[in-house]
Every structure is written in structure tokens, then in C-alpha cells.
Symmetry: C2
Subunit: 404 residues, 2 copies
């Protein structure tokens, strides 16, 4: 008898009918002879609605109280799933994050899981129950409720799978799996039947928001295979795991993109120690997430430093930067709000030369100017005009023969 | 420094603005030098909406899961109240029933409080916090969430007050206090500044739904004075306590009524042991609440047995009764669905004759026929036609000089 952990996203449990559908899928997994633990997200837009309610009460809600408030969303969906399963004749029980032993630090709104004390879950499984655990939440040593931040329910699911020694963690969402590129941009995009943890990490960080990187990292750390699939179809999904065969590793696996990119360049920065900190610490304090950072070689001790932020944060970031640029003796700060990002990803690239050159040539052949370039071992990213992202993704998808 | 427990009902915290208003009242109590514990009900219709959601998922929701689901309503309002208090510059923290140590039995949907382990609440008070406790809920020895049923938040408040040794428990609601009769029926009705526990118990059970009888009983048991007042006005409210003066005790205190009364009479019942059980056990199993029961003296070992139920339960109760009436050899069951109830209440009545006679005469002078009579030591109740209840309440209010 295998133990599997399933996670259902908010759109999969958005209303009573969808909850009954999901219950049927869970019941099926149980009927196939598995022990089943289910992690539920909050229904549809519940979390956003609760945040809105909090902001109606006060502009700056206490983080501790906000976490307790938000945690109710996943408790609601968990109880409804348990009810639906019982109505189908299954034994089922819902547990809050606290009851399921998800112990976290006290960093409200983005708590980290310290350990999972899964005895209660194991006991309920042994009683024959399907166990529904409220995702996205945990509890501190002082028994205060925390939430895990973005991707929290994915992380709950993989952490539980690791703690219980599950055979697999299945993440059910509203897409069929991981594709060679976004199917909305590239109709020929192919669904991948499998992908490595590291490739998935690059993908997830770079725009293919199917499963959260935290969960993938945790899966890699504990060797838990993660299946990403749709809760609305019977598509087999994409399996994220560590045992990708040599042949598959040896190529570009997928094209990722992101249309939400704005760029700030600090021009004429005196190149001395502490300059990067002087720029990025105030941005971090202002809660502005900086994505790509590029600093060119300095010439005569003067350099240019460029970084990207989400378009919505550009105005705020420029406000923060103006006085800093002055104080560090930079010439000026300039910005561009109409950018996008396109990446080619594949573990095959790390030992094979020529991928970067081929990418740059393809973009150039399509008249696409490259503004910034960054690379990791298994990813090459170009920042380009946002109006050209669609063309770039299609061209690269074709050039790297991903449609077959 | 006094310790006070305040409870706010659902209509008092129905939206963000009302929550901010309630926060100001709480802050005021704290600013006056008190330690303050607050018990919050769920916002407005939240509980009904959650029940509706559960019934969309399944016709018969599991009680265990329904309790967890419903408990989120009070957690939401508690966190919002804590946020609003912090926004006003107060130290405040919300606690779930479990965190506040409300330990109950495992009778889901109508759990009884076994004890209150109030150490956490006391600790938070000592840190200078206003402590907001989610009402209506508790936790079993197995750490499963329960709800307390009707009047649950009132009961939470009085139980906490008893456990913490509070000076007073203040129940804030949408009425100004306890009146000599329903002010909607009797414009001259007077607000009572004080009332005894027992009188309040008779009142609460007989239609004046201001504070739940369970909470009043608990208040009497532990000697906790209960103030009932409006959260929307500065009316002084009504104090429920045990030290009512002799003079005030010695009269009728108020007129209660109930328009939701239906009657079933089982005619020609052979009067032998076990008959009452044979009738009322099946009704209890069918979850039908029986209110008044009257059995007349039997004549030649044949008696009539009459009882009342809510109008909405009459059809169901008749279904249950038909086969029973046959099996016990009764002649027939007859019903009347258009009844109401009027009561005069006052501890003064128990040692003073003549109140019943005066009540019957007043009703007769107003052409009101009495169908059933039941009495307790401090209450006399007549079942009459529902169309005549309004007249009866007004006539009795005047006759017993309650308007002055």
C-alpha cells in the first residue's frame, strides 16, 4: 500500500461543485489501495478577500493577526473536502496546520517550516482515514498560527510527503503540467512528461508558475518525486524528479518568459566596496523585490549597475534610488518600464557550448535587441522589449526544436 | 485594576466600520484602567453562510467537520478586532478557543465546557494585552475543535469571567437591555436596571432572547454579574445579578411572549406507566424540541396529553406521532398551528397568591381564551391564539403596572 500526498490549488476547490469533483478524485486514489493525505488551498479568491477585509479595518494590519485571519481560508476548504469525502462514503478527517504538526519559525506571513511532527497524521491514516490538511499554515513553539507565504500550500504538501515517507507528492492545479513554453504564446508547445528538479527550479523562478520553487527545492532535498497535473482533466501531468535520463538531460528543455520586467540603471557609479550594499539595502527595506542584477566591468573605477524589478514597483524603486544615487556620487538613475524576459533552460547546457551563441543569433535574426544578459549553469536569460517577448519565445521554441 | 470580560454579538461586529467602533469601546474600557478580555461572535450572517456552503457540498455534513468550519467565523472577527485595537495604539492579541484553553466534551455542535485553562489568557493580560477570544468554540482532549451550540459565545464569555475571577461579564448586543416586555409590542415597556438570575432565566427561555440561559446559569453558579447592554448606544443596560433587593423582588417583573407555538394533543391515551416515554423518546430521536408538556388528571384511566413544538416542526412531529398514537392505543392526535405564548415573570410571585387569578381575569376581560396553562415558581404561562398575543402582552403590562 503506497502513501501519496495530493495538493489541490485554489482554483480546483473554488466552489461546492469543484470540491465534490476533487473529492471524487481523492476517493479514486484511495480506492486504488493508497493511503492518501490531501493538502488543500483556500477556495478561489478567499485569501485576497480576507486581505481586503483586513485592510478595511486598518491600513496596516498586524502581521500576527493577519496570519491567523488568512489561515481560516484553508481550514474552510479542508473541512468542506472532508465533508464531501464522507458524503461519498469515505472515512476522512480535516486537520489544521497546527493539528498536522507543521512547526514553523515565528516569521509571520512568510514562516519557514522547521519540522513536521506528523504523528497525528500517521495515526489518522492508520485508522483508515483520508487526512485533509489545511495548507499554507503552521504553528510556532508558542502555539501561534503562522502562514508560509507564496507557494505555501505546495511547500506544506512536499514537507508532509517528506516527513511521512510518501511515495510521491501530486500537485493538482489548473494547468496540465509543465510545457516547453507557455502554450498561450506557443501553440506548438509540448507538455514535458518529466523534468529535473533544477530545471524546474529555473523554470518556476522564470515565469512558469506551476509549482513554487520552495516546494521543488524541498522535493530535491528529500528526494520526493513531484507530479504536476490538472485537477480538471485526466492528463498524465509532468513528473519532477532526480532520475532524468542522460539523453533527455542533453538539450534545452524549455523556454520561459516574463512580461513584467522594468529596469533601473545607475549610471557612473564609483566602483568601491560597499556600493552594491548601499544601493540594495534601502530597496530591500522598502520591500522592493529586485530580480536580475548586472554590473559591468568598471572602466577607470566607474561602472554602471543595472537591476530589474516588477513594473508595478518601478516608481517606488526610482523614489528610493534618487537620493541614494546622489549620496554615492553616481551620475544619474535611468529607467525603462517596457521590458520582458526570455530564458532557455536545460541541464544539458552546462557541459555543452554554443547554446548561448545560438540563442543570441536567433534573437538577432528576428530583429530583437538584447538589453541585458544573465546566465546560471542551466539557464540563459535575455532582457528584451516586452513587445518582442512573444516573437522571441516562438522563435527560440522552434530553433531549439522543442515542438517535436 | 479590575478585570472585565466583554462579549460582542454578531450584529455588533457585522462589518469593518462596526468593528472599528467596537474597538473604540474596548479601548475606552482599557483606558479606564481595566484589564480587558473580549469574546467575539462571528460577523453578521457568517455562521449561516458557512452552514449554507457546507450544505452545498453535502446534504448531511459531518458534525466534526462542520464544527471546525463554523469555528473559523469567530476566528475571523477576533483577528479583525485585534487589528483594529492595534491600529488604535493598543496592545492586543487574538486567541482561538483552543488557545484560550476552552476545554469541552466531544459533543460536536453542542459541546459543553468542561473547564477553562486560562493560563495563556492570564499571561497575555499580564503582558498588557487586550485579549480577544474567539467565542462559540472549544477543543477536546484529543485537540479537536468543537462548537458550543446556541448562545455559545455568551457561554464562553461567562466561563472565562468565572475562570479568571473577573469582576463582571458585559454582554454587548443590539438591544439596550432587558425590558418589562418587548418594546416592539408595548411602547411603554420599561428597561430594567437590574434583574435576578432566575427571573432572567425564565425570561430568556420565554422569548426575550437577549442573553442565552446557559450563560445566565453559569453566571449564577459562579456569582458573576452579567451586564446586558447595547454596543451601539451608551445606555447603561441591565445588570443580571443575585443581590436583588426585597422590594423589587416582590412583584411581577416582566411579560414575555413567543409567537412560534404549535400544539399537539394526543386524545384518549390509556394512562399507564411508560406512556410518556413512548411518546417523547421518538420525538427526541427525530430531533424535535418539545417545549411545554401538559397532562391532565386521568378519568377512568384515560387521559389527554398535550405538548407544544415550534411551528416549523409541527408537520414532522405529527408524522412521528401518528404511528405512536396507534401503537399506544390512543384515540387520535390533533394539532393546532396558530398559537402563541404569554408569560408573567417575577420572583415576587412565589410567596404571594393572586397573580395567576389576576392574569386569567385580565386575559378574559380582553376576550382571550386560554388553551393551556403551565407554571413554574416564578412564572405563569398561558398558551393562547397567536393573533391575540400582542393584545395579551399589552393588557398584562398595563394590569401589572410595569409602565411606571
Amino acid at each position: 500500500m503506497a502513501l501519496i500526498v495530493q495538493k489541490y490549488g485554489g482554483s480546483s476547490v473554488a466552489d461546492a461543485e469543484k470540491i465534490r469533483n476533487v473529492a471524487r478524485r481523492i476517493a479514486q486514489a484511495k480506492a486504488q489501495g493508497n493511503q492518501v493525505v490531501v493538502v488543500a488551498s483556500a477556495m478561489g479568491d478567499t485569501t485576497d478577500e480576507l486581505i481586503k477585509l483586513a485592510h478595511q479595518v486598518t491600513e496596516q494590519p498586524s502581521q500576527r493577526e493577519l496570519d491567523v485571519l488568512l489561515s481560516t481560508g484553508e481550514i474552510v476548504s479542508s473541512t468542506l473536502l472532508a465533508m464531501a469525502l464522507r458524503a461519498l462514503g469515505n472515512k476522512a478527517i480535516s486537520l489544521s496546520g497546527a493539528q498536522a504538526g507543521i512547526r514553523t519559525d515565528a516569521t509571520y506571513s512568510q514562516a519557514r517550516i522547521l519540522k513536521v511532527e506528523s504523528e497525528r497524521v500517521a495515526n489518522e491514516l492508520n485508522k483508515g482515514n483520508i487526512v485533509i490538511v489545511a495548507g499554507f499554515q503552521g504553528i510556532t513553539g508558542e502555539m501561534d498560527v503562522t502562514t508560509l507565504g507564496r507557494g505555501g500550500s505546495d511547500t506544506t504538501a512536499v514537507a508532509l510527503a517528506a516527513s511521512l515517507g510518501a511515495e510521491i507528492c501530486q500537485i493538482y492545479t489548473d494547468v496540465d503540467g509543465v510545457f516547453t513554453a507557455d502554450p498561450r504564446l506557443v501553440p506548438e508547445a509540448q507538455q514535458l512528461s518529466e523534468i529535473g528538479y533544477e530545471e524546474m527550479l529555473e523554470l518556476a523562478s522564470y515565469g512558469a508558475r506551476v509549482v513554487h520553487p520552495r516546494a521543488v527545492e524541498l522535493g530535491e532535498l528529500f528526494g520526493i518525486p513531484i507530479l504536476v497535473a490538472s485537477s480538471f482533466t485526466d492528463s498524465p501531468g509532468t513528473l519532477i524528479h532526480g532520475g532524468i535520463s542522460m539523453e533527455i538531460r542533453n538539450r534545452v528543455r524549455s523556454i520561459a518568459h516574463d512580461l513584467d520586467v522594468a529596469k533601473i540603471t545607475v549610471v557612473g557609479v564609483p566602483d568601491r566596496p560597499g556600493i552594491a550594499a548601499a544601493i540594495f539595502e534601502p530597496l530591500a527595506k522598502a520591500d522592493i523585490s529586485v530580480d536580475t542584477i548586472v554590473q559591468n566591468t568598471s572602466i577607470e573605477n566607474i561602472t554602471d549597475l543595472t537591476f530589474t524589478v516588477a513594473k508595478s514597483q518601478l516608481a517606488r524603486a526610482m523614489e528610493v534610488m534618487e537620493p541614494i544615487a546622489k549620496s554615492i556620487g553616481a551620475r544619474e538613475s535611468i529607467s525603462d518600464s517596457k521590458l520582458g524576459k526570455v530564458s532557455i533552460i536545460g541541464t544539458g547546457m552546462q557541459n555543452a557550448p554554443g547554446y548561448a551563441a545560438r540563442m543570441f543569433r536567433v534573437l538577432s535574426e528576428h530583429g530583437i535587441n538584447i538589453q541585458l544578459i544573465t546566465t546560471s549553469e542551466i539557464r540563459i536569460t535575455c532582457i528584451i522589449n516586452d513587445t518582442q517577448v512573444k516573437d522571441a519565445v516562438r522563435a527560440l521554441h522552434q530553433a531549439f526544436k522543442l515542438e517535436t
